[in-house]
Amino acid sequence: MSWREKWVAFVTILSREIRRYMRIWLQTLLPPAITTGLYFVIFGNLIGSRIGEMGGYDYMEFIVPGLIMMAVITNSYANVVASFYNTKFQRHIEEMLVSPVPNYIILTGYILGGASRGIIVGIIVTIMSLFFSDLSVENVWITVSVVLLTAILFSTFGFINAIFANSFDDISIVPTFILTPLTYLGGVFYSINLLPEFWRSVSMANPILYMVNTFRYGILGVSDIDVTWAFIAIAIFIVGFYTYALHLLNSGRGIRS
């Protein structure tokens, strides 16, 4: 395939992914907006007003970056894991496998498709947060780049989960038992400086903590961790996950007999 043909194939996969989640927006775009809206009302407004300050900021201001990031992470992941597993389940993955489109184009198309949903949901949640807090961005480049990289990272993670999944139960195990706990314990609702020394050290092993804090740094200008290391860690994870996902796809794991 020429580069032009590969580009067409990539755009085809990406646009099909976007068409898919737009077609079912009631399942894909609306629920995260409602859930996050409830977080803003309950934790930010009702409870948050009694908590006072967190990390030197009003509690509502403190949790907004974390909640945006949480929406980006869960939706990027959910899009790819559901979409690619469905492609396997309904067998229309064969449409791509019989064609000359290279595996890295398939992988990149799905990852960016999932990342695009994460970013759209992130934008929706950001707009909603404007009703509850005066959001100002301290560093646009850090804010945008960490959202993009996080969305890409969790899309890739979702793809790997979809490859291994053999049933619909398998696509909910990781989000329920790994992703959600790590997100809640990743400093979305609190600063890890509040934790005892031991649990602060344990929290440092949570990759989501770095993403949430880097994003918070981009918006508020404060972070519990060093953002340079956060970018390096995210980049390493992306390269590692992408390489592994491509290896799985090339070997035919879960998709070829």
Partner: protein
């Protein structure tokens, strides 16, 4: 003559240890209408799956128009179109989107993809259904949708894996005409089917696969010439109770209005007609008991299976 498909020593052993293909060799010439037949579980779908990269092979090589499916993956795939046995498109997408998307996987620009999709959807009588979700199509329409999808990138080799399964006879005939039309236009076709009259009518060459081995690979005419006997059903006007004896022919009274006659290939039916006529038995109509290819197919498969079973017991 260019070879459209060349398979050498193709072997497949599944993880369970089941040996689905035991080293098959097969060549299909460009422009051919080729039948790949075999009973269920013989290895047809495994062979097709390997050609289409849906199944990893254990050993051997596959070339499509001289391009190896491993070494020259992209070029080999461009020449190949597949209509699978089971529906494998998204049931939630529109008909037009399914075909245009498939064109996109082959790198066709959007405008050209739309034009081609319209062309093939019109040809297959699906243009009016282009905005319908695929799940709302009838079984026959879904089969035609898969054919349109397989043709949108205009492959030189088209594999049809039981394309007329579950399709009514009227639609089946129109699909036969369409297949013949695209074959005459230059597309090489490999057909697998359980309707043996379909293979007999459409295909020029044939391979029969059984228990992972090719047991016959020849042209259709030579194969049919191997039929040693043919059985005809004669429907008679009125009724008879006693069956006449005709020297050299095996006759059987199926019921008082129907006689079965077995005829060797070196015989003809004239003596039968003459003698029945002399006994005032009037023949109203005549038909084959079974299709000739079916007769051969069954005997070849049985022969091969018995041979293999004997081998195992030794």
């Amino acid at each position: 003559m260019t070879t459209a498909l060349s398979i050498k020593n193709l072997q497949k052993t599944y993880g369970t240890g089941f040996e689905a293909l035991k080293g098959i060799d097969l060549e299909v010439e460009q422009g051919d209408f080729f039948a790949l037949l075999g009973p269920n579980g013989a290895g047809k779908s495994t062979t097709i799956g390997i050609i289409c990269s849906l199944i990893n092979k254990s050993e051997g090589s596959v070339e499509i128009f001289g391009k190896d499916i491993d070494d020259d993956f992209s070029k080999a795939k461009k020449d190949l179109g597949v209509v699978p046995q089971e529906f494998n498109f998204s049931m939630f997408e529109k008909v037009i989107d399914i075909v245009v998307t498939q064109a996109g996987f082959y790198g066709l620009p959007h405008k050209q993809a739309l034009e081609r999709s319209e062309h093939y959807l019109r040809k297959l009588g699906l243009w009016d259904k282009r905005d319908e979700k695929a799940r709302f199509l009838s079984g026959g329409m879904k089969r035609r949708l898969m054919i349109a999808r397989a043709l949108v990138h205009e492959p030189r080799l088209l594999i049809l894996d039981e394309p007329t399964a579950g399709v009514d006879i009227e639609l089946r005939r129109s699909m036969w005409e369409f297949m013949q039309e695209i074959n005459e236009a230059g597309t090489t076709i490999i057909l697998t089917t359980h309707y043996l009259e379909e293979a007999e009518n459409l295909c020029r060459n044939i391979a029969i696969i059984n228990q992972g081995e090719i047991v016959k690979n020849t042209d259709m005419r030579s194969l049919l010439a191997e039929v040693s006997t043919e059985t005809f059903i004669l429907d008679i006007r009125g009724t008879i109770n006693n069956l006449p004896v005709i020297d050299g022919y095996k006759l059987k009274l199926v019921d008082p209005t129907c006689i079965e006659v077995e005829v060797r290939m070196d015989q003809n039916l004239n003596p039968v007609f003459e003698q029945l006529s002399q006994k005032n038995i009037e023949i109203a109509s005549m038909r084959n008991k079974v299709n000739r290819l079916e007769e051969l197919f069954v005997s070849l498969v049985e022969e091969n299976s018995n041979g293999n079973d004997a081998g195992v017991s030794e």
